[in-house]
């Protein structure tokens, strides 16, 4: 396996303002350290992925940014504001949108209720229901179905639509493509590009590097709780073979 190096340089042409800045984030589960000094940033309208093997700490990073994992040190900023000590609820209200790996659809709520349960946190940025249904027609068809009656792909659509309807500006998406049929993955890709177009930033955890290379601007490679590489998408694509090898696929 080739030696990987921590590269702090960012690819040329990426000079936007950062929305999310994570610096020196370490996280623990009891005594076991899951993250070591993870630093990363996502700029306005950027799609950034976090790739890495199983257990590398991808979900822990997202959960820490969301405020669901609290045993951490380091610093998290949203729009330049330190949010490290804020609760998950306040982070959500500040514009962080949560799309968990289990999709987090409420079984006892209908599709419509799942969409309208979270508060609208930014009136200007929030997608209207019409706009949601235009981009996720299947959610309209199934709007009165209970959450449990949706297929995996439909649940993923709902999970991604929910923070858009809140008006989140920074989406944290954990394994959007996992376990979905190729057609659905393509649709998810289209939606992520659409989200990007509307100026929303996305931090996407992915194991599917091929998919990652079709939607993202930049990538962070995480291994054993550390960021080992930061790559622009061009470099990422040219080193796909090597990366697949690194990820053990």
């Amino acid at each position: 396996m080739p030696e990987t190096t921590l590269s702090e340089q960012l690819p040329a042409g990426q000079t936007g303002t950062p929305v999310l800045e994570v610096s020196d984030l370490s996280a623990w589960y009891g005594e076991a350290q899951a993250l070591r000094n993870v630093s990363l940033e996502v700029r306005v309208g950027e799609v950034v992925t976090l790739v890495g093997r199983n257990g590398a700490g991808k979900s822990t990073t997202l959960r820490s940014v969301m405020g669901l994992h609290r045993h951490i040190s380091g610093n998290i900023r949203l729009d330049g504001q330190d949010i490290t000590s804020r609760t998950a609820e306040r982070r959500a209200r500040a514009g962080i949108g949560w799309v968990p790996d289990d999709r987090g659809i409420y079984a006892s709520l209908t599709v419509m209720e799942n969409l309208t349960l979270p508060p609208v946190v930014d009136r200007d940025a929030a997608w209207s229901l019409e706009r949601i249904f235009e981009h996720f027609p299947v959610l309209h068809t199934r709007r009165n179905f209970p959450g449990t009656k949706l297929s995996g792909g439909e649940q993923q659509m709902l999970a991604m639509a929910r923070p858009l309807r809140m008006g989140a500006k920074m989406l944290l998406v954990d394994e959007a493509s996992e376990g979905l049929a190729p057609v659905i993955v393509t649709q998810i890709g289209d939606i992520i590009r659409e989200i990007k177009k509307s100026g929303v930033s996305v931090l996407l955890v992915e194991q599917n590097v091929n998919f990652a290379s079709t939607v993202a601007d930049r990538h962070y490679l995480l291994a054993e709780g550390e960021v080992v590489e930061s790559l622009g998408n061009d470099e990422f694509q040219s080193r796909l073979e090597e990366l697949l090898h690194h990820l053990g696929m």
Binding site: E89, A92, W98, Y106, S108, L109, L117
Partner: protein, 289 residues
């Protein structure tokens, strides 16, 4: 046939007490993650409160039906604000122990003030005697108690399904952490939900007052059966709590009729049976952790 209907009615009446109280227990568990051990003593306070309201304040049963649950709501709010709230961040076991301690204190205080013997309470005028229904003579009070319990359960159900508060309670019951990560202000509802749950136990107590021997200890047995109800219905399932409440009431009534010595045992046999076939309870999904 006549006795079958009679036992059914009796079962629905006492099942109504379980259903109301279990509903309160379920919403509290759902939103706070607290297994409220003091629920039995709140039921007892409802019944004792009804007797005391009449003896000391001349309050009629009908007034007690409103006033006593309201007083218990306030009591629940104070209990949550004063004690329960401070332990919410810790292991749920702490609040279980806290509410167990609260129970001991409440029961002893009631014993000190009112003694341990039964406090008589007459069936309210207008609900005495029998009512003729479809050629059968049925105890009026039981018909009333069963109907009112069903009505209140349905009303709560409508609130849960049709209102925004209800939606938040359902969502929080499923997964409180996730709701917070979606910016839902669950905290805002914690205190009123706790008070409401306590008020439901109190209402069950008021309804039970004319039918049971009202003593400081009446909640002890009640809470044990209530836990069986919640396990049968599925911990974390609000609908399950209500359904299981009525089921347990029926099992108890038929047990008392045909095998009085085993009436209580039957409930726990039912619980064991349900656990063997479906460990998450009849209506539980086992998702709440």
């Amino acid at each position: 046939m006549g006795s079958f209907i009679q036992y059914t009615l009796q079962g629905l009446a006492s099942g109504g007490f379980y259903a109301l109280a279990a509903l309160g227990l379920a919403v509290i568990f759902g939103v706070l993650g607290v297994v409220n051990f003091s629920h039995g003593s709140m039921y007892m306070l409802g019944a004792v409160g009804t007797v005391v309201a009449l003896d000391e304040f001349g309050l009629s049963f009908w007034a007690s039906l409103i006033v006593v649950p309201l007083v218990l709501f306030v009591f629940g709010v104070l209990l949550e604000r004063g004690l329960v709230r401070w332990l919410l961040k810790l292991d749920p076991l702490y609040n279980f122990l806290l509410t167990f301690g609260v129970t001991l204190v409440i029961v002893d205080l009631v014993k000190r003030r009112y003694g341990s013997s039964g406090m008589p309470y007459d069936t309210p005028a207008g609900l005495r005697g029998q009512i003729a229904l479809g050629g059968l003579e049925l105890p009026t009070y039981q018909v009333f108690a069963a109907l009112l319990s069903v009505l209140v359960c349905v009303a709560v159900w409508v609130i849960l399904v049709k209102t925004r508060v209800g939606m938040i309670v359902r969502a929080a019951t499923e997964e409180p952490d996730r709701s917070r990560a979606l910016g839902v202000n669950v905290a805002m509802w914690v205190t009123p939900v706790f008070g409401f749950g306590i008020a439901l136990a109190g209402l069950a107590g008021v309804l039970a007052a004319p039918t049971r021997s009202v003593t400081a200890d009446m909640g002890t047995n009640f809470i044990i059966i209530l836990f069986a109800v919640v396990v049968i219905g599925g911990l974390g399932s609000i609908f399950g709590a209500v359904a299981a409440g009525f089921i347990v009431g029926l099992v108890e009534a038929f047990g008392q009729a045909y095998a009085p010595a085993y009436a209580q045992v039957l409930i726990f046999v039912l619980m064991a049976g349900v656990l063997l076939v479906k460990p998450t309870g009849l209506f539980g999904s086992g998702e709440h952790s």
